[in-house]
């Protein structure tokens, strides 16, 4: 294969060629920029910080991800690019340290090729709330790529890079992965270090991975997972071994909580889900049907816990030590309120207010504490489900990618687009969004699979079966099925 087509390769195939000397690191890293980015980036706008010099500075020839270009969401700290959370309040801010996930990526040989667009501070489900303007969905430029990690999802979908990092607080990796037709994994809470991930809802946040191929997901997971002394909330002990991702699903059972999509879910989404379930059954998995707690409770608990934590996490943005400071700050009160009111966008301000309210005197018990109790209830619900099956299947999002501007004026409608993803964050369990084809209109269809804590190996096995149309053996090297690339229209 000639160098210009290297962008089509899976990350593992690309790394193998770099290690073998068949492909120059520069060609590996720049392939996406020279190829598909020329076609797509001007309209999709997935990338908010790029720097050819920074890309050229890294020349790794070794490691499982040698020479693999990776786009990193703009809320994950990197020393070689700004980290702004797509917010005016961090305009131009360049961290003096790399996030642990970034150091681990680099140690594995990967090259950070830029920073991906997002909803400001990861608060959103459409990548419309960005100070850099929205990212568009490569499968339909009038539609959103999902959010909040829309930039990294779209970049992987159009071919800029085979892997990208996002963050998932309530579905911000899985939902845009579903909208952009790529794989999106949110690991078990504590499996990936949060050190260097700018906090939104600390008890819910996890860094996640976008990939086009299950094997790449496994390689990236192996490189990133594991305890970090810099993050007290990482799980002690070795991360689960995902190298058996091609083992198939024979003997596995999946839960089928059909009550969740009886209404309010796009029929094409349900159709994709049915088809995927049937494929898993044909491959040897069994279906267990039961009812599950409706997702509205998760959304309600989530919007109290996440905003409460956010209201405190975002207090540090005050114009004193870094980032934007309002020019007219004659006294301290003005410094704080003007800087924060101009630095934060309206959705961020809305959530800070909601979270402040949920924690404030007289409301703490009724809101924050109640939400934390509900969270316990939701965890128990998942625990009970995993006593009956190895993993759960459900939609990743209730709808197909919606149009830009469609939900931006209605916060609650936007919040409800996370109804299927939020539960995993509340329960701390892993979730994986897997593409399963295209809708009649050519938009990506996806399913979501949820596993118990440390259930990533099982999720990857099921994803591989879906990727290979049941023939897992095909996922070997050059035989890997071609990704369903978007076409420009």
């Amino acid at each position: 294969m000639s160098a210009p087509e290297a962008w089509r390769l899976s990350a593992t195939a690309l790394a193998a060629r770099v290690r073998g000397g068949e492909l120059a690191v520069d060609d590996a890293v720049e392939a996406g920029w020279r190829g598909p980015a020329g076609t797509w980036e001007a309209e999709v706008r997935a990338v908010v910080h790029a720097d050819p010099a920074a890309r050229a500075a890294a020349r790794p020839r070794e490691g499982p991800l040698a020479g693999v270009p990776v786009l990193v969401k703009d809320n994950i700290c990197t020393t070689d690019y700004p980290t702004t959370c797509a917010s005016r309040i961090l305009a131009g801010y360049r961290p003096p340290y790399d996030a642990t996930v970034v150091s681990r990526l680099r140690a594995a040989g990967a090259v950070v090729v830029g920073k991906g667009n997002m909803d400001e501070f990861a608060m959103g489900s459409s990548t419309e709330y960005s100070c850099y303007g929205p990212t568009r969905n490569p499968y339909d430029l009038d539609r959103v790529p999902g959010g909040s990690s829309g930039g990294p999802a779209a970049a992987v979908a159009y071919g800029l890079c085979p892997l990208a990092l996002g963050s998932d607080t309530g579905g911000s990796v899985r939902q845009p992965a579903a909208f952009c037709g790529v794989l999106g994994l949110k690991p078990t809470y504590g499996r990936f270090s949060r050190y260097g991930l700018v906090a939104f809802g600390s008890s819910l946040d996890q860094v996640g991975i976008f990939a086009r191929h299950t094997g790449d997901l496994a390689a990236a997971y192996a490189a990133l997972a594991g305890p970090d002394p810099l993050d007290a909330t990482t799980r002690p002990g070795e991360a689960p071994d995902v190298s058996g991702w091609r083992a198939g699903v024979t003997g596995l059972s999946f839960g089928w909580p059909a009550n969740l999509w009886r209404e309010g879910v796009d029929p094409e989404v349900v159709g994709g889900l049915e088809e995927a379930a049937a494929r898993l059954e044909r491959s040897g998995a069994t279906r267990v049907t039961f009812d599950f707690l409706p997702g509205e409770y998760s959304v309600a608990a989530y919007y109290l816990v996440a905003t409460a934590e956010a209201s405190s996490n975002l207090a540090r943005f005050d114009g004193v030590r870094y980032g934007f400071r309002h020019a007219d700050s004659a006294d301290l009160r003005a410094l704080y309120t003007r800087t924060r009111s101009e630095g934060f966008g309206p959705e961020v301000q809305r959530r800070i207010l909601l979270g402040t309210y949920a924690l404030s005197a007289g409301y703490y018990d009724a809101y924050y504490l109640t939400a934390q109790r509900a969270r316990t209830r939701i965890r128990e619900e998942y625990r009970a489900a995993f006593a009956r099956c190895d993993f759960l299947m459900m939609p990743a999002a209730p709808s197909l990618p919606f149009r830009l501007g469609e939900k931006i004026e209605d916060p609650l409608a936007m919040y409800l687009s996370d109804i299927f993803t939020i539960g995993a964050n509340l329960a701390g369990i892993p979730g994986l969004s897997v593409p399963v084809g295209l809708s009649r209109a050519g938009l990506p269809l996806a399913v979501q699979m949820l596993g118990p804590e440390d259930g990533e190996p099982v999720l990857l096995r099921a994803a591989a079966v879906l990727e290979a149309g049941g023939e897992v053996a095909r996922l070997e090297g050059e035989d890997t099925p071609e990704f369903a690339w978007p076409t420009k229209r």
Binding site: C77, G196, T233, R321, Y322, L359, S360
Partner: protein, 484 residues
């Protein structure tokens, strides 16, 4: 109407750990501004806290020393408020579930010892430091240094059991001694290692219910605590006596002008929105850790003070002075081995403490120079009446600057004490024979003349005899003569 003050204290103790509470930066004092900072203690986006075991251990030791109940599982919480010296605009502290609860601190008061009850002791992080008012060009500014941000603190909250400022001062003095004794803090109030806020209310004498309280901040010396409290009690009393009402408020004490300023705060300013810190899992202290800490606890200052009084027969004052620090108590006990306790106490309290002060030494530096064993050699000779007082003090002075035992020092300086009976006997006889008048007066019952005769013998010995020995020899010789 007579009023009674009700006072509770809230003390912050800066721990003498090597690193900060939640990061590996040095916790030292005096570095160049903003040079002991990292992403965590500077509150950079994405940085996370990691707990210093030594700080938790210090809290356990203090908690055990004052008999707190220790919580095997406690919780860190965030206290949310905006302030420029607070990097994250929240402070990591403990709220609902503190590490230590209850307990009491024994305090020596004029009427005897009393135990003042505690509500809680918990671990938290300090803020940075701001300097103001300052100018930058033509603008007024404040300057902020984050070196202190994240340094570990213990917060100790007392029960409202104090009725007088002097009790508070005594409590702080006892607390300062204890934390130094345990080696957990330098507790230097001038350097802000020990800070104190107080809650004060007044109520008519005999009334059970508390009055409206005010909080005084900035009580940054023991004298300041007393003066600030007196000022606030006077202010409240004057207000009540003129028919006014106390407003719940926070006041700042300005020690330089002995003045209280009311903090202006907007209506909702004190809603701290505490909630469990999601970055820090629960703090679990296993039973073995508690037992190890308990086992490593030294004999506590008040226990040692009491033991000194009984074991060495010391007056209460001596026992208190000698147990001011653990180093001093150790030095004293080492010195007193095989000696009269009071003799050793006198020497430590006068000579040793004066020398330490004159030379601005730490006791550790003093002990290196004049180890207790060496000084014991000198005191043993004093006790055996081999050295007269003035000469012993001279030897002590030599000891401060030179090496060597007492005998070596005497020899080096060409001085020897005329201590033995054989040496002094001829002098005694000579003096008796040279002064028949005083001798006759003494024998006639005018014993005061003995002092004159002792002085004469001392003179003939060149000041090198031990007066007590001379006195005894004279008495014996005169008795022999009167009886013959």
């Amino acid at each position: 109407m007579a009023y009674e003050a009700v006072i509770g204290l809230e003390c912050h103790i800066q721990l003498a750990t090597r690193t900060k509470m939640f990061c590996g930066c040095p916790a030292e004092f005096g570095a160049a501004p903003n040079s002991n900072v990292c992403p965590t203690c500077l509150g950079l986006p994405g940085a996370l806290p990691r707990t210093n075991r030594a700080a938790v251990d210090a809290a356990l030791r203090l908690g055990l020393a004052v008999g707190c109940e220790l919580r095997p599982v406690s919780e860190f919480a965030r206290k949310n408020y905006f302030y420029p010296d607070m990097p994250k605009n929240y402070q990591i502290t403990q709220y609902d579930r503190p590490l230590c609860e209850g307990g009491a601190l024994p305090v020596a008061l004029e009427g005897g010892a009393r135990r003042f009850g505690l509500i809680r002791i918990h671990v938290e992080e300090d803020t940075g430091k701001s300097f103001h008012p300052e100018r930058h060009g033509d603008r007024p500014v404040s300057r902020v240094d984050f070196n202190r941000a994240g340094v570990p603190l213990l917060e100790l909250v007392s029960r409202p059991d104090f009725r007088a400022p002097a009790e508070c001062a005594a409590f702080l003095t006892a607390l300062r001694r204890l934390v130094r004794w345990l080696g957990i803090s330098d507790a230097d109030m001038e350097k802000g290692h020990l800070r104190c806020d107080a809650n004060v209310s007044l109520r008519p004498l005999g009334q059970e219910a508390f009055g409206t309280k005010t909080e005084i901040k900035n009580l940054n010396s023991i004298k300041g605590v007393e003066k600030g409290l007196h000022a606030e009690i006077a202010r409240q009393r004057a207000l009540l006596e003129s028919g006014g009402r106390i407003e719940q408020s926070t006041l700042l004490y300005d020690a330089d002008h002995d003045r209280l300023a009311v903090m202006r705060s907007k209506e909702y300013a004190h809603d701290y929105r505490y909630f469990p810190d999601p970055d820090l899992p629960l703090l679990v202290v296993e039973e073995t850790w508690i037992e190890d800490a308990r086992g490593a606890l030294p004999e506590l200052p008040w226990a040692r003070e009491a033991r000194f009084a009984t074991q060495y027969g010391l007056p209460g004052y001596d026992a208190a002075v000698l147990t001011e620090t653990r180093e001093l108590a150790d030095y004293y006990e080492d010195l007193a081995r095989g000696l009269d306790g009071k003799l050793a106490s006198n020497w430590v309290m006068t000579e040793v403490l004066r020398a330490v002060k004159e030379e601005s030494l730490t006791l550790a530096a003093w002990s290196a120079k004049v180890p207790a064993g060496r000084l014991r050699g000198l005191l043993a000779k004093v006790a055996a009446r081999e050295l007269p007082g003035p000469l012993a003090k001279q030897v002590f002075a030599w000891m401060r600057d030179e090496d060597g035992t007492v005998d070596e020092l005497l020899e080096r300086h060409g001085v020897r004490a005329q201590g033995s009976v054989a040496e002094l006997e001829p002098l005694v006889v000579a003096v008796i024979e040279a002064h028949p008048g005083p001798v006759a007066q003494y024998l006639a019952g005018k014993t005061a003349t003995l002092g004159f005769l002792v002085g004469q013998v001392m003179k003939r010995s060149g000041g090198q005899a031990v007066p007590q020995v001379v006195r005894e020899l004279l008495e014996a010789e005169l008795a022999r003569r009167s009886g013959s």
